[in-house]
């Protein structure tokens, strides 16, 4: 590990009085044992670890990234404002250079929340990393940002939000979608026509252990980051790849998580999932905090840790090697693939059916993006949900070109409300959010 100590900010918010339901994995108890371990280790007394109280995200922060139907207030609880606010606090402390890096150890999580929000899916209502990313750009100007999603589940919400954004490199490393919720996140999901290659999915087979994760990190993620040269690296830090997690099938360990964070060296880490609350989270979180702070983490192991018992098979290793080389080639050839995707059209459209498992809502979406060489492209969405809400949204990307903005304004102006319950206009550069 690196020997340099870093000043690390910790934003800890376990929400001890908030649960989706009393026995839901996302319940009061989730970070209880993590708190115990962090406190008992005395981490907050170390000179280079500082705890900060989370701030509150605002409705404006949410509306900068999401279109919530009917509005942001109706799809969130106070706890969401705190967890998104905690991520923002982490970003602020890093951007203001009060700390070298920061970890928002907060709940509830967010990476399954998509651009359009009709309710909660995958335990998520709003996407706390995406809100933080857009907050950073709003306050500190354009930034190239890499979001590395190390949660065991494909971060389909984050992927949806960053799909058309060439300034955000979104890499999700997760358990193969054929074997786990949400069932997506395959290598051919590779970004929208204006941001091809800036969404990268690395599905790993069940029972992948430390060496598989670290192989993908060293041979795929780190080389791509070297080429992308982000201003900020964010770890969307799920902890459910752990060998003891009750709702997944992977074999990652606390040591693996610590080494991953040591090598990835994220500027900001934000907690996502992770439901082995008693046998994994206390050790994984201590490992991540120590790794970020540049403190010896080699003694952080689970009481029952036995690397030989959970080691991946040689077949798994070979599969991962092939997968990594295939995906790296996709990335290398991203420019040349664009012509085939764009096919000379002016707009590209995709239709999506989305199920909100947590709230039991179905949604159908038609999303249209303007093919654009200058920016991420104007996006419009026509969405219909089983709640009865039918909405239309016009979204001008950050760092937009004049043509996309003008076109978006015309469309919002000229489209008749007709059968829509609500129409939204979102302009990130100008921080404008309109509803009609």
């Amino acid at each position: 590990m690196s020997e340099d100590k870093k000043k690390t900010g910790l934003i800890f918010f376990p929400a001890f009085d908030w649960a989706i339901s009393p026995t839901h994995p996302e319940r009061e108890e989730r970070l209880l044992y993590t708190q115990d371990q962090v406190f008992e280790e005395g981490l907050l007394d170390l000179d280079n670890i500082v705890e900060f109280k989370p701030g509150l995200a605002t409705i404006q922060d949410i509306n900068r990234i999401h279109i919530c139907a009917p509005d942001a207030q109706s799809v969130i609880t106070q706890s969401h404002l705190i967890s998104a606010g905690g991520a923002i606090t982490a970003a602020e402390k890093v951007m203001q250079k009060e700390v070298d890096n920061a970890f928002a150890l907060v709940r509830p999580p967010g990476h399954h929340a998509m651009r359009i929000v009709h309710g909660a899916r995958g335990f998520c209502n709003i996407n706390i990393e995406a809100i933080m990313v857009e907050y950073i750009r709003h306050k500190y100007g354009p930034r190239k940002i890499a979001v590395i999603d190390t949660d065991c589940h494909h971060g389909d919400g984050s992927q949806d939000i960053f799909w058309h954004d060439p300034n955000t490199l979104y890499i999700s490393i997760h358990q193969d979608g054929r074997t786990l919720y949400p069932g997506s996140g395959f290598p051919d999901e590779f970004g929208g026509p204006n941001a091809l290659g800036y969404t990268i999915n690395v599905p790993l087979p069940p029972n992948t252990s430390d060496e598989g994760f670290l192989f993908a990190l060293d041979n795929l993620i780190l080389p791509i980051l070297d080429e992308f040269k982000p201003d900020l690296i964010i770890n969307s830090a799920g902890q459910d790849n752990h060998y003891s997690d009750p709702i997944t099938n992977m074999s990652f360990s606390a040591q693996g998580y610590a080494i991953l964070n040591d090598r990835l060296s994220p500027d900001i880490a934000v907690l996502e999932g992770g439901y082995s609350i008693e046998t994994a989270l206390p050790y994984v979180n201590v490992g991540i905090i120590l790794a970020m702070a540049g403190i010896d983490y080699s003694h952080v192991t689970e009481p029952d840790y036995d690397p030989d018992a959970i080691r991946q098979t040689p077949q798994t290793s070979r599969h991962i090697e092939q997968q990594v080389s295939y995906i790296y080639n996709l990335w290398k050839n991203r420019e040349s693939q664009r012509a085939g995707v764009v096919k000379g059209g002016e707009y590209a459209r995709r239709d999506k059916s989305i199920f909100y498992d947590t709230d039991g809502i179905s949604e159908h979406q038609e999303e249209t993006v303007r093919i654009c060489d200058e920016c991420g492209g104007l996006v419009t969405v026509n969405s219909r949900a089983s709640t009865g809400n039918r909405i239309f949204a016009v979204m001008i990307p950050g760092q937009s070109c004049p043509a996309c903005r003008k076109k978006g304004e015309e469309i919002f102006e000229s489209t008749n409300k007709g059968s829509y319950n609500y129409m939204y206009f979102q302009d990130r550069d100008r921080d404008i959010f309109l509803v009609k």
């Binding site: 009085d17 839901h24 010896d296």
Partner: protein
């Protein structure tokens, strides 16, 4: 009659209270090498002509433990640590005699690895060979399961003069702090116990049967023989006496700031509704962060005698003190000289004060008055900024529930109490800058002794119940016992209060002073697998909070308008 005695660095003060009124005060020089001598001197002076039969109790605030630590008059301690996974042993090692063993318990208090008897006995042999008489045994999460520590103790018990156990120090979490606390406790054990013995012997010679109490860092008292098992509890009783003194002289019931402006330092404490705030985990002494319950105080290196000078064109005050103020024959200009020059006070020699201020006025071509004003302003601003910083920290302390984020109580001081030499000249400026009124307690010169005399007995307990394990622990009392599956939060609160009462009474509390409150109250459903509720995790902490003994009915001191 109650006697309060405060052993300070320079003077030992005593005050005799009769029916809560000051009847007499006494003062002797402190003999740092022989504190007992100073105590006896001041006691005999204050008792001159009094009837020992009338005496209800004596409360001592002594520097015996603090001095032992600060001056390094400590014994060698053999430390046995049951650390388990986590921070590396190099970060936990507190001295050269620290040894790590393989047994450990996890965060739920479940024993993961057993004690290796041979390993422990071997470490005992090493200690013996090294001539070590004092041992500290500390396990990670030992507050959740004291059994491992006591088992280690049983293996080596008969071979050492004293063993300090980590779980007895505090119910709070923090393994490094538990290590430091246990180490210090064992290291000053002999010094403190010799002191207790001497005091008891002296008391035997006198005709009184009144109990003797010791003031602790948390502003509460403990009967002296009860305090013998926990020597570190009596460290930093000086600042605690000062805070309790201000409380007894003002009898405040509001959110307030207390300033004690001395010659070298200014001490700041905060009251919430009349109760002094405690350090969240424990006090810090000589760089050791501990679990010793103590009042939250901040000390800044600025006082009436601080040296004032220009450094690189910037006016600088303190933290050093070259001697008394120039007006009293000192070598350098000080804030006191500035106050004299401005006519805010008429103590000392005016000419000497003016001359000292004039010496540095030349740097910026100031007149004497301008210079004195600059100096005075800077002192006030420094103190105010330290107060505001402390309030900001307290009010921004992280909290862990949605309720507390939105509804959490904030400290909003309504008054600032100011004690110390420069209190009178500074009060009008400080209260204006802080934005709330000030008041200056009378008899502040013996505030510490009065504070000790009027402090009640305090203590706290932490109860953890895990109904899945079917077990409850109260670490500070060494209790670890089975509970039925249906054990509830109400059961836990009831037991915690009973045990707290017993503990407080044993420490010498009066029934009337058992002002108990629950300070932590959490219940978590432990859900395992997909939705099976395996049990409840109940966490209760209760305390007798710092305050004044019952019967004391002074009118709340009015604020200056």
């Amino acid at each position: 009659m109650i006697v309060g005695i405060d052993v300070g660095g320079t003077h030992t003060d005593a005050v005799l209270l009769d029916n809560f009124e000051i009847k007499k005060t006494a003062k002797v020089l402190t003999d740092r090498e022989n504190l007992i001598k100073s105590l006896i001197e001041v006691t005999e002076e204050i008792f001159e002509g009094e009837d020992p039969g009338e005496l209800e109790k004596v409360v001592l605030s002594t520097t015996i433990s603090t001095n032992a630590i600060v001056q390094g008059k400590t014994d060698r301690v053999g430390m046995i640590l049951a650390a388990g996974p986590g921070l590396s042993s190099e970060m936990l090692r507190i001295n050269e005699d620290t040894h790590f063993i393989s047994g450990y318990v996890n965060h739920r208090g479940i024993r993961v690895a057993d004690t290796d008897r041979g390993e422990v006995a071997g470490i005992g042999n090493i200690f013996k060979k090294e001539g070590i008489d004092h041992v500290g045994i500390v396990g990670k999460f030992s507050t959740r399961n004291p059994g491992l520590e006591t088992e280690i103790g049983d293996i080596i018990n008969d071979r050492f003069r004293h063993i300090s156990f980590g779980h007895r120090m505090s119910g709070n979490l923090s393994f490094p702090r538990r290590i430091a606390t246990t180490y210090l406790n064992a290291a000053i054990w002999d010094t403190y116990n010799a002191f207790v013995k001497n005091v008891m012997e002296y008391v035997k010679h006198t005709k009184t049967t009144a109990p003797i109490y010791i003031l602790k860092a948390d502003g509460g008292t403990s009967e002296i023989s009860q305090s013998a098992g926990y020597p570190v509890g009596s460290i930093l009783s000086g600042p605690a006496a000062s805070v309790m003194g201000i409380l007894s002289l003002t009898n405040g019931s509001k959110d307030a700031v207390a300033l004690d402006i001395g010659g070298t330092t200014t001490d700041i404490a905060i009251f919430a509704g009349g109760t002094p705030l405690l350090e969240p985990l424990g006090v810090t002494i000589e760089g050791h962060k501990t679990l010793i319950r103590g009042l939250l105080t901040r000390s800044i290196g600025i006082g009436g005698d601080s040296r004032v000078r220009y450094e690189d064109g910037r006016l600088v005050i303190g933290p050093e003190r070259d001697g008394p103020a120039a007006a009293f024959g000192g070598p350098s200009p000080t804030p006191t000289d500035a106050m004299i020059a401005l006519g805010l006070t008429n103590i000392g020699n005016l000419d000497k004060a003016l001359k000292a201020v004039k010496e540095i006025a030349g740097v910026k071509n100031y007149s004497i008055e301008e210079m004195a004003k600059e100096m005075f302003d800077l002192v006030c601003r420094k103190i105010i900024s330290a107060v505001n910083e402390m309030l900001r920290e307290i009010n921004n302390k992280p909290v862990y529930t949605v309720h507390e984020i939105f509804e959490g109580k904030k400290i909003k001081p309504e008054v600032v109490y100011i004690a110390g030499g420069p209190a009178r000249p500074m009060a009008p400026y400080i209260d204006k800058m802080l934005g709330f009124p000030s008041c200056i307690p009378e008899h502040a010169e013996v505030a510490n002794a009065i504070g000790a005399a009027l402090a009640r007995t305090t203590t706290e307990l932490t109860l953890l119940a895990d109904t899945e394990k079917g077990e409850m622990t109260i670490a500070e009392e060494g209790i670890q016992t089975g509970i039925p599956r249906g054990f509830t939060r109400e059961d836990a609160i009831g037991i915690c209060e009973d045990k707290l009462r017993e503990r407080a009474l044993r420490m010498g509390a009066q029934e009337d002073d058992l002002d108990m409150e629950i300070i932590e109250d959490q219940v978590f459903n432990m859900v395992r697998g997909m939705g099976y509720t395996a049990g409840k995790n109940i966490r209760i902490k209760a305390q007798v909070k710092p305050g004044l003994i019952a019967g004391f009915k002074k009118e709340e001191l009015n604020v200056r308008r």
